[in-house]
């Protein structure tokens, strides 16, 4: 145990002695861990946003009001067979009127207009798609020649509207962001590993006399290596602390500014529930990067 504390003390002393190199290594590690965390937060928020938007969207296919139940069931079956359907709901003309009145209960003028027009609303099938990126499958079913006579010619299906374009844009943006986040994280992971590798290499070089003396007086291999590993893991620990603070500031502070565009509520509640787990994950990641880099440097430059 006493040996363990001596190794930690020596590692801390080395860290302080090389303050500039230590600061540089810690800074790069901080950028890496923050990037990984931001990438994780953004992915989570964007996924929640897409899910939220797509969950709200139904494809509405308007039908003529004089169809028989067999015709309606046949149409529903052909949609289900497309494979991209979670649920289907048939809305009768009467139900459509009730829904309309419920939605516009605070607007008596609209309700009065509907009453004057009689049962003017068409029946419809509300489709919830499994994959909103592939609404074309549903579109193909709707456009089949056999189904054309069933559709209300005055009200085209709603998937061709502006909402689909918006969803497509969000999906594309999220995909790009995910790839960019992963690429940047991977790049900084490599950079920080290389910088810590180089820092430890220089530390080994500047302390070669000390290492020789340690060998001379009978230090074990791990007593000599230990301080270098601890020094590198210290970069990771300090970087993890800063990165966690930065990420939380970004999430809890910055998120409110874009909250109307992106759904951060899931991510914020995830962070609140698992904050300890997240901190531990950051620490573990930082320690692993530091330890692996220093072990690599030692295997190459510290021959015992």
């Amino acid at each position: 145990m006493i040996q363990f504390w001596r190794v930690l003390t020596a590692g801390l002393r080395n860290f302080m002695r090389n303050m500039w190199l230590s600061t540089a290594a810690t800074a790069v590690m901080t950028v890496t861990l923050t990037l990984i965390m931001v990438s994780f937060i953004s992915n989570m928020a964007l996924t929640a946003t897409i899910k939220g938007v797509t969950d709200k969207i139904d494809v509405s296919i308007f039908l003529k009001n004089n169809l028989t139940p067999d015709q309606i069931n046949g149409f529903k079956k052909s949609l289900t067979d497309s494979g991209n359907v979670i649920s289907l709901t048939y809305v009768s003309p009467q139900q459509a009127v009730l829904n309309y009145k419920e939605q516009n209960k605070n607007n008596p003028q609209l309700i009065a207009a509907l009453d004057q027009a009689g049962d003017a609303l068409p029946s419809s099938v509300q489709v919830k798609a499994k994959d909103p990126k592939h609404l074309d499958v549903i579109e193909a079913v709707v456009n089949q020649a056999a189904n054309k006579p069933l559709l209300d010619p005055t009200a085209p299906p709603s998937y061709t509207g502006s909402r689909k374009a918006t969803i497509d844009r969000i999906v594309r943006f999220a995909g790009f962001f995910k790839t960019a986040g992963l690429a940047a994280s991977a790049m900084f992971l490599v950079i920080s590993t290389l910088i810590i590798f180089n820092t430890i290499r220089m530390a080994i070089f500047t302390r070669r006399d000390e290492i020789e003396i340690m060998k001379l007086v009978g230090a074990t291999k791990w007593f000599i290596r230990g301080p270098f590993i601890f020094e590198a893991t210290l970069y990771g620990i300090i970087a993890a602390i800063i990165a966690t603070i930065l990420s939380c500031l970004l999430l809890f502070g910055g998120a409110t500014k874009v909250a109307s565009y992106i759904d951060f509520s899931t991510t914020v509640s995830f962070f609140q529930s698992y904050i300890l787990l997240i901190i531990v994950a950051e620490f573990v990641l930082g320690v692993i990067i530091g330890a692996v880099s220093s072990l690599l440097a030692m295997s190459r430059y510290l021959k015992l």
Binding site: R6, R17, D209, E210, L216, V217, G218, T220
Partner: protein, 230 residues
């Protein structure tokens, strides 16, 4: 105590540093090893401290057969042998007391034990007042005393002094030799290598002369000679 039985050391570049060397040093002896540069003195010391491994033959030190030790055992071997060098090999950023304590720290000694042992050892080498000084504040002779204190703090049975007076003026050199003799009187086997003819001749102790990796002369009260013992 130290036994070399037909020990040969061939380096990877095929240079033969020791060739069938036989040597027996008894406990509590004071032995001086002399020889020209490249004769094999340094290799002999490196084999004793296990910085190098022998190519053939047998080395037994303090009952430990070097053929049986693994790389894990090497630190333990080194803790049984104290070594001092011409260039002192002190840690410049640490005080005298910390330099001496360092040898105990690496072997896992308790802090209380270290605090007790260091002043005693500094008193033995005559540096009681310098415990808080840094190496650069000391004279060459004083630095070598610190190195000796560090080598002895674990009470090894063997002390190897590799050219300990090489960087010192005659007065300081003699003080170091007198310190080594004192340590030897306390029961430590001392192995000294030196090029200082006056010291070797004045010591009147066992002198082993090495030339081209072989012992060419081994006298109980020897004198400094080189090149085949002439």
């Amino acid at each position: 105590m130290i036994l070399f039985d037909r020990v040969t050391k061939v380096y990877p570049n095929q240079m033969v540093a020791l060739s069938g060397l036989n040597l027996h040093i008894k406990p509590k002896e004071f032995v001086t090893i002399v020889g020209a540069s490249g004769a094999g003195k340094s290799t002999l010391i490196k084999l004793l401290t296990r910085e190098e491994t022998h190519s053939s033959g047998k080395i037994i030190v303090g009952g430990l057969d070097y053929d049986t030790i693994t790389s894990r055992d090497v630190p333990l071997v080194r803790r049984r042998i104290g070594v001092v060098f011409q260039d002192f090999k002190l840690l410049p950023g640490r005080r005298v007391g910390e330099n001496v304590a360092f040898a105990l720290e690496v072997s896992g000694a308790r802090s209380r034990e270290i605090k007790r042992a260091v002043p005693k050892m500094l008193k033995l080498v005559g540096l009681s007042t310098k415990e808080n000084a840094y190496p650069h504040e000391l004279s060459g002779g004083e630095r070598q005393r610190v190195a000796i204190a560090r080598a002895l703090i674990r009470q090894p049975k063997i002390l190897i002094a590799d050219e300990p007076t090489g960087n010192l003026d005659p007065k300081n050199a003699w003080e170091i030799i007198e310190l080594l003799l004192k340590i030897n009187r306390f029961g430590t086997t001392v192995l000294l290598t030196t090029h200082n003819k006056e010291i070797v001749n004045a010591l009147k102790r066992r002198v082993i002369t090495i030339n081209r990796g072989r012992i060419v002369k081994d006298e109980e009260q020897g004198r400094y000679t080189l090149e085949g013992g002439k």
